[in-house]
C-alpha cells in the first residue's frame, strides 16, 4: 500500500511539474509584451516600464524567469494580478472554495442520481427501460456544456424568472440580509449552475456505473448468488452495486479534467466567480500572472482530485489499482 501511495504521489508530482512548465512556456511564447498590454499604456514612460520589467523580472532570460517563477510559486507567492489589482493568491483564495462548492455539490448529486439510473438500467439489461435510459443518457452526454447552460439560463431565469441569472449572491442586498435570508439567497443562486452541472455529470457517471454493473453481473459469483436463490434484482443491488461503485469512482477521477471543462463553461455562463470564471476573465484581460496561476491551480486541483479518488478506492479495495 505504501509503495503504491508513494508511486501515485510521485506520478501526480510529475504531472504538476509538466503542467507548470507547459503553462509557463505557453504564456511566455505568446506574442506581445506583458507589460505593455497589462498596464495599458504607452502613456507610461519607457523608464517606468523598464522599472516594472526589472521589478517583475521580465528583463531576465526566459529560463531564469522560469526558475524564479517556480521558486516563487513553490513558496506560495503567485505574483500580482494586474487586472484585479491584488495578489493572485487572494484572487484564487476567493475563487477556489466557490468552484469546490459548485463542483462538489454537483458531484454528490450526480453520483446519487447516476448510481440510481445505472442500477435501474443494469437490473434489466437490454429491456426497453435500459434502452430508453441509455438513449437519454447518451443525449445528455452529447449536449454542448455551454449550450445546456445557456438554455437553462434562457428558460428558468429569463423566461420563467424563477432564479437569478447568475452571480454568487444578491449583489446589493446580501450583506444586509438576515442569516436565513442569506442562506435562501445563496441557494437561489446555486440552483441553476448546480443543476446544469449535475445533468452533465450524471450522464458520465450513470454510463460508467451501468457498464461496471453489467460486467459484474457476468461474474461467477453473481451466478452463484442467483443460483443460491437470491433474486436477480436483489443480487444486483446487494453485491454488484457495492463492487461497481469503486471502479466508478476511479474512472471518475480519471475523467476529472473533462468534468472541469464543464465547470468552466457553467461558471462562465452563470457568472459564478470561481476558478474557471476568473481564469477565462484573466485571459481576456491578458493578466499573465493570473492566467498562469489559474491554469496551474486548476490542473493541480484536477490532479489532486484524481489522486484522492484513486487512493481512497485502493484503500477500500486493494485489488483495484491503476498502474
Amino acid at each position: 500500500m505504501r509503495r503504491y501511495l508513494a508511486f501515485r504521489i510521485l506520478q501526480a508530482l510529475g504531472v504538476v511539474a509538466f503542467v507548470t512548465t507547459l503553462s509557463f512556456v505557453v504564456v511566455h511564447l505568446a506574442p506581445g509584451d506583458p507589460i505593455s498590454t497589462t498596464l495599458q499604456g504607452s502613456n507610461v514612460t519607457e523608464q517606468t516600464r523598464q522599472h516594472w520589467r526589472v521589478e517583475y523580472g521580465l528583463d531576465r532570460p526566459i529560463p531564469e524567469q522560469y526558475l524564479r517563477w517556480l521558486r516563487l510559486t513553490a513558496r506560495g507567492d503567485l505574483g500580482f494580478s494586474f487586472s484585479q489589482r491584488r495578489p493572485v493568491r487572494d484572487v484564487l483564495a476567493d475563487a477556489m472554495p466557490r468552484t469546490l462548492a459548485l463542483t462538489g455539490l454537483a458531484l454528490v448529486l450526480s453520483f446519487a442520481l447516476g448510481i440510481i439510473v445505472g442500477l435501474l438500467q443494469a437490473e434489466r439489461v437490454n429491456s426497453p427501460r435500459d434502452r430508453w435510459l441509455g438513449r437519454v443518457l447518451l443525449l445528455m452526454y452529447s449536449v454542448p456544456d455551454f449550450w445546456l447552460a445557456l438554455m437553462m439560463l434562457l428558460f428558468f431565469s429569463y423566461r420563467l424568472r424563477l432564479f437569478p441569472p447568475g452571480g454568487l449572491h444578491d449583489a446589493v442586498m446580501y450583506d444586509y440580509m438576515s442569516a436565513t435570508g442569506k442562506v435562501i439567497d445563496a441557494i437561489k443562486h446555486l440552483v441553476l449552475p448546480v443543476l446544469t452541472l449535475t445533468l452533465l455529470y450524471t450522464a458520465s457517471i450513470a454510463r460508467i456505473q451501468r457498464a461496471e454493473l453489467v460486467s459484474l453481473t457476468h461474474s461467477d459469483w453473481m451466478r452463484t448468488a442467483v443460483a443460491k436463490g437470491l433474486g436477480w434484482t436483489s443480487a444486483v443491488r446487494r453485491h454488484a452495486l457495492r463492487n461497481a461503485l469503486l471502479p466508478t469512482i476511479t474512472l471518475l477521477g480519471v475523467n476529472l479534467p473533462a468534468l472541469a471543462v464543464g465547470a468552466i463553461f457553467v461558471e462562465r455562463v452563470f457568472s459564478w466567480p470561481g476558478m474557471g470564471f476568473v481564469t477565462v476573465g484573466a485571459v481576456g484581460a491578458r493578466d499573465y500572472p493570473l492566467v498562469m496561476a489559474g491554469v496551474v491551480v486548476t490542473s493541480i486541483l484536477v490532479v489532486c482530485g484524481a489522486l484522492v479518488a484513486d487512493v481512497a478506492v485502493s484503500i477500500a479495495d486493494p485489488r483495484i489499482r491503476i498502474r
Binding site: S36, V44, H51, R86, V91
Partner: protein, 567 residues
C-alpha cells in the same frame, strides 16, 4: 448652445412618437428635484454596469466605471458649471477651494481651501495635498492619461496649510479649467509613501479615500462597488444613503438586473429594450447627455514598416470611397435604433463647438466604386480590387469588450466587401486593443472618444502634436491646416471665434475623410421611476448624484436599509 437640465426635454423632437412621452416623464422627475424635503434623505440607488472599475485613483482612470466612482469619491478645487464653460472661471462653483484669486498677469491663481474639508479618514484637507496631487499627476512615472493636458501648469506652492498657489507657464483661455477639471485632489498622507510608479498596482489604489460626499464602503472585485453617504462631509450629507455599482459580467446580465428590479439604473439601453420600457409601470427611459463620439479610424502609417505611409489609407480617394460605401444611417438603425444619435463628424453633437450642418460625404456605392476605379484600384477576377499588386485588403481592430463596436465592425466588413475590399476583423481584448492603438499597429480601428468640453481635447486627437507619446492621435493623422485651425480655436478668448475656428478644422477633417464618422455614444438610460434626478451634466451625468433623491413614500426594501455599517 446651452446645456442645462432641460436639454433632455429639447431632445424629444428627435425621438420617435413612442418615446416622447417617456422623455417627458424623465424631465418631470428632474424638474421636481428642487422640492426634496428633509424627510427625503435616505435610500439606495443601484447602478447596473457591465464593467468593473480598475482603480480608485482619479489620475489613473481608464474606463467609465472608474470615472463615475472616482468622481463621487474625490472632490476637485472647483467644479465646472452646467453650461460646461471652459474659458476663464465663469460658471465654476467652489468645491475644496471656497474661493480663489487671479494674479494681475493671470499667471498664478491662489486657492483658499475650505477649512471644514476633511478626508474620509478624518484628516483635514491641506494645501500640501493640492501640491502633492499636481506633482503626482505630472510625474511621468505615474503614467496618467491626463498628463499631456497639463503641460501649461508649472507648479504649485503652499502658502499656508489652507492656501495653495498654482503657477502657469502662459496665459491661455482654458488654464483654470485645465487645473481644476483634470485634477482631483488626493490625500498625501495616504498615498505619499508609495512611489508613483507603483501606484498602478498598489493595494492603496483600491481604498478610495477622498473628500467627496460619498465614501467607499466596499469594493468586491467583479461584483459590486458600494459607496455610502459621508455623513460629516463639509458640503453636507448627500440625500441618498448609498450608491451601489452592481457589476454584471456582460450586457445581458446588466439588462436583466435592471428589469428584474435588482438595479435602478442601466446606462446603455439598446433599441430592443424600448418596447419593454414603454409598458413598464416602474421604469422609464431618460436621455443622458454625453460627450462621446465614435468613428472608424484609418491609420496613416504602415503598421508593418513604421515611418512609411499606409499603402491604402494614406490615399484620400480611398478614404473618401470607403466613406461613400458606408450606409451610416442604416448602420445606426441596426445597432442602436433610436438609442444613439448620428455621427456628423469628428465631434459629439453635444459639445458647444459642434456643427451638424457641415457637408457630409454621401452614401453612394456606385460613386464609391467609380472613385476607386479612377484611383487605379481595379477589381480582379475574384472581385477584390488591387493596385500595383497591392490588394485592397485590411483589418479592423476592435475591442471585444464593446458589443456596439463589434457589431459596427461586422457591418463595415460587409459594406466594404460590396465595393471590392476584403476586411478581416481583429478582435482584441481591451488591454491588447489599447496597446495596439498606442503602438499604431493596426490598419483601421473602431475608435471611441469621450472628449473634454474644451476645444483642446480635439488637439489631442487630431493635431500633429497628438501623434505618439501621450497623445491620442492613434491614426497619426497630420494636416497642417487642421493644426492651425485648432491652435487658433484653443487660443481664442472669445467663444464665437473659437467655435468658428473649430468649425473650419472639422470641415477640413470631414472633407479629407480623416475617419468614417459613425455615431455619438448611446445616451439612453433606463431608470426606476421613484428616483428624482438632479444636475445631469453632459460630461458626467453622475456628477450630481449626491443631490438625487427618493421620496420617502416610494421607498423600496433596499432604500430602507439605512446607514447600517457595512459588515
Amino acid at each position: 448652445m446651452h446645456r442645462s437640465r432641460l436639454t433632455s426635454c429639447h431632445m424629444k423632437r428627435f425621438l420617435p412618437f413612442v418615446l416622447a412621452a417617456v422623455a417627458v416623464a424623465g424631465c418631470k422627475g428632474t424638474e421636481t428635484a428642487a422640492t426634496a424635503g428633509p424627510a427625503d434623505v435616505g435610500g439606495t440607488i443601484v447602478i447596473a454596469t457591465p464593467s468593473d472599475a480598475g482603480t480608485m485613483l482619479p489620475p489613473l482612470i481608464t474606463g467609465i466605471t472608474d470615472r463615475e466612482v472616482t468622481d463621487l469619491l474625490y472632490d476637485r478645487l472647483a467644479e465646472i458649471g452646467p453650461e460646461l464653460n471652459t474659458l476663464g472661471d465663469k460658471g465654476f462653483t467652489p468645491r475644496l477651494a471656497e474661493r480663489w484669486e487671479w494674479s494681475a498677469d493671470s499667471l498664478s491663481i491662489t486657492f483658499h481651501l475650505n477649512p471644514h474639508a476633511k478626508w474620509h479618514d478624518g484628516q483635514p484637507v491641506r494645501a500640501s495635498d493640492v501640491r502633492f496631487s499636481v506633482n503626482l499627476i505630472k510625474d511621468p512615472a505615474l503614467g496618467s492619461t491626463a498628463l499631456p493636458l497639463l503641460s501649461n501648469i508649472d507648479s504649485v506652492s503652499v502658502r499656508d496649510s489652507l492656501t495653495a498657489v498654482a503657477y502657469f507657464k502662459k496665459r491661455v483661455p482654458d488654464q483654470f479649467y485645465d487645473l481644476v477639471y483634470q485634477i482631483a485632489i488626493l490625500p498625501e498622507h495616504v498615498l505619499g509613501n508609495t512611489p508613483a510608479a507603483q501606484l498602478k498596482t498598489a493595494e492603496i489604489g483600491r481604498r478610495g479615500i477622498g473628500s467627496g460626499r460619498f465614501r467607499l464602503a466596499k469594493w468586491e472585485a467583479g461584483s459590486r462597488i458600494e459607496l455610502v453617504a459621508d455623513t460629516l462631509n463639509y458640503r453636507g450629507r448627500p440625500k441618498l444613503d448609498r450608491i451601489v455599482f452592481s457589476i454584471a459580467p456582460d450586457f445581458n446580465g446588466a439588462v436583466t438586473r435592471f428589469f428584474a428590479g435588482d438595479a435602478d439604473i442601466f446606462e446603455n439601453l439598446r433599441a430592443e429594450q424600448l418596447p419593454r420600457l414603454a409598458t413598464d409601470s416602474a421604469r422609464h427611459a431618460i436621455r443622458l447627455p454625453s460627450l462621446g463620439y465614435n468613428f472608424m479610424a484609418m491609420n496613416q502609417v504602415d503598421p508593418k514598416t513604421p515611418g512609411r505611409p499606409h499603402p491604402i489609407f494614406s490615399e484620400r480617394a480611398v478614404r473618401r470611397a470607403l466613406s461613400m460605401a458606408v450606409d451610416r444611417r442604416a448602420m445606426l438603425k441596426n445597432v442602436f435604433d433610436t438609442m444613439a444619435t448620428f455621427g456628423f463628424g469628428p465631434f459629439p453633437h453635444t459639445v458647444s463647438v459642434a456643427d451638424t450642418t457641415l457637408p457630409q460625404i454621401p452614401y453612394d456605392t456606385a460613386k464609391a466604386k467609380a472613385l476607386l476605379d479612377s484611383a487605379g484600384w481595379l477589381a480582379g477576377p475574384d472581385g477584390v480590387r488591387s493596385k500595383n499588386g497591392r490588394r485592397l485588403e485590411f483589418s479592423i481592430t476592435t475591442p471585444s469588450s464593446s458589443a456596439g463596436r463589434h457589431q459596427y465592425a461586422v457591418l463595415l466588413q460587409d459594406a466594404f466587401r460590396r465595393v471590392g475590399a476584403v476586411v478581416t476583423l481583429d478582435e482584441s481584448d481591451f488591454p491588447s486593443y489599447i496597446a495596439k492603438l498606442n503602438s499604431h499597429s493596426f490598419d483601421a480601428e473602431m475608435e471611441s472618444f469621450q472628449t473634454d468640453p474644451s476645444v483642446s481635447g480635439f488637439k489631442q486627437t487630431w493635431s500633429t502634436a497628438g501623434i505618439g507619446g501621450e497623445g491620442q492621435n492613434h491614426a497619426s493623422y497630420s494636416n497642417l491646416s487642421v493644426d492651425a485651425y485648432l491652435d487658433s480655436a484653443t487660443n481664442a478668448f472669445d467663444p464665437a471665434r473659437s467655435k468658428a475656428y473649430a468649425r473650419r478644422a472639422f470641415e477640413a477633417l470631414m472633407d479629407d475623410a480623416a475617419g468614417i464618422w459613425l455615431y455619438d455614444t448611446p445616451t439612453m438610460a433606463g431608470i426606476h421611476k421613484r428616483i428624482r434626478t438632479a444636475g445631469l451634466r453632459a460630461d458626467a451625468y453622475f456628477s450630481g448624484l449626491a443631490d438625487w433623491w427618493i421620496p420617502a413614500s416610494q421607498r423600496s426594501e433596499r432604500d430602507k436599509v439605512g446607514l447600517r455599517p457595512t459588515p
